[in-house]
């Protein structure tokens, strides 16, 4: 990270969806705005800008974080994954996305990016937990609900989202 002389700006660099990016940001810049405005990744959604709805959830070093309450300068040197980064090189969606679609867990879709990222972080958490475990374990229904408590959805009543996450995470952790 380099401070741009005579300004209140920093040049930061980070790994964004597996690709190194460099961007100049104001000291007070918020990660959500940098992603949407400077880097044109509009899949991450602005739902409330106050850390209450989770629509802006992204992964930072594999863990879900509200990008609306995250200083862009703190992204420096980190690995950031947005919803756009879950599509692989063959343009296939991540199994999480497909499972949500197949289970009817997507309605208006505004919360979906954030939901997907939260489920992804739960998957990451269990994969790393299972690496050192003798027997593989999957999150319970209660744990999934707890993990998704910070992602509001006004359309689905969460039922299908939780069902989809449960189905996926029983197999893929």
């Amino acid at each position: 990270m380099v401070k741009i002389k005579g300004t209140n700006k920093y040049k930061i660099s980070f790994l964004l969806n597996q690709t190194k990016v460099e961007v100049i940001v104001k000291a007070s810049a918020i990660l959500l705005d940098v992603l949407r405005e400077d880097l044109n990744l509009t899949g991450t959604k602005p739902g409330c800008n106050e850390g209450e709805c989770g629509a802006c959830t992204v992964l930072i070093n594999g863990a879900a974080v509200n990008s609306c309450l995250y200083l862009a300068v703190n992204a420096d040197g980190k690995e950031i994954t947005t919803i756009e980064g879950l599509v692989n090189n063959e343009s296939e969606l991540d199994p999480i996305q497909n499972t949500l679609i197949e289970n009817g867990a997507v309605q208006c879709g505004f919360c979906t990016s954030g939901m997907v990222m939260s489920i992804k972080s739960l998957q990451n958490y269990y994969i790393s937990k299972n690496k050192s475990a003798k027997t593989k374990i999957a999150p319970t229904n209660q744990e999934i609900k707890k993990w998704l408590e910070g992602n509001l959805c006004r359309c689905t009543g969460y039922v299908k989202i939780i069902e989809a996450a449960e189905k996926l995470l029983t197999e893929k952790v």
């Binding site: 209140n8 918020i30 850390g51 959830t57 200083l71 408590e149």
Partner: protein, 294 residues
Amino acid sequence: MNFNIEIPHSIDELVLTLNKFKNKNYRIGAGCTDLLMELKNNSASNLTIINISQVDDFNFNNVKLSNGNVDIGANTTAFKICENENILENYKTLHEAALNLASAQIRQVATIGGNICTASPSGDLICALMALKAQLYIKNSLGENREISILDFYKGVRKTDLKHGEFLSHLSLNSNNKNAFKTKSGFIKIGTRKSMECSVVSLAYHIQIDKKGNIIETGLAFGASAPIVKYATRACDFLIGKKIDSLSKTEIDTFAKLVVEYASPIDDIRATAWYRKQVLFNISKSILEKNIEK
């Protein structure tokens, strides 16, 4: 929102930065989840955020055991606290408070130091740490250290004993009595929903019992019912020496009344003072009643 930022990368750099800014308008930001919300709502001019989240120091960022104490660095995230097995086993009230803090996303970045120093009257981690009588360790811009009990740290609504130029470096837990045979420790958080609540009333308790079933140590604090999180000394003292399994209904009521004596809640958008007191009374009882689990 417009501010300058300083990003120290070590404790030494942090001390130097504080020294440089000691006569200026600055705020320390760790996870910044509360701070950014505050600044988004009313942005001050000429403000510098001393952003401590990039301080690379193991003790500052983690939980560790030292000489039987559990030391928690100020920059330890709520997530790390939830994950720590020692805290889960020995200081369950803190585990539960951390686990019910905001959301999974917030817990990834929000820190224990941030929660302590924001000094919210409903601060969940503060409440648990008071029940555990945590000792706070503070450093100043000259690198000098001092310590203070969390019970003495709060001076008024969102006011702490932390002076300009000081920062919280870590805290230490050592409230478990060696004669304790079992511990009744937990955190009760009351709100409309099961998640994402700012406590309307909270209650942290840590009650240690010897082999004979006598209560030998107690810690009990509650949040959101006074200008600061309150420690209920007289209620704690009342229990000492009593048998946990044979408390009478009157004793339990007396205990709960002693807790409520410390409450001076206000009416606000989340609840009335009336409600807070009633619920505080009820949940205080509940921790001593048998079969409190459903």
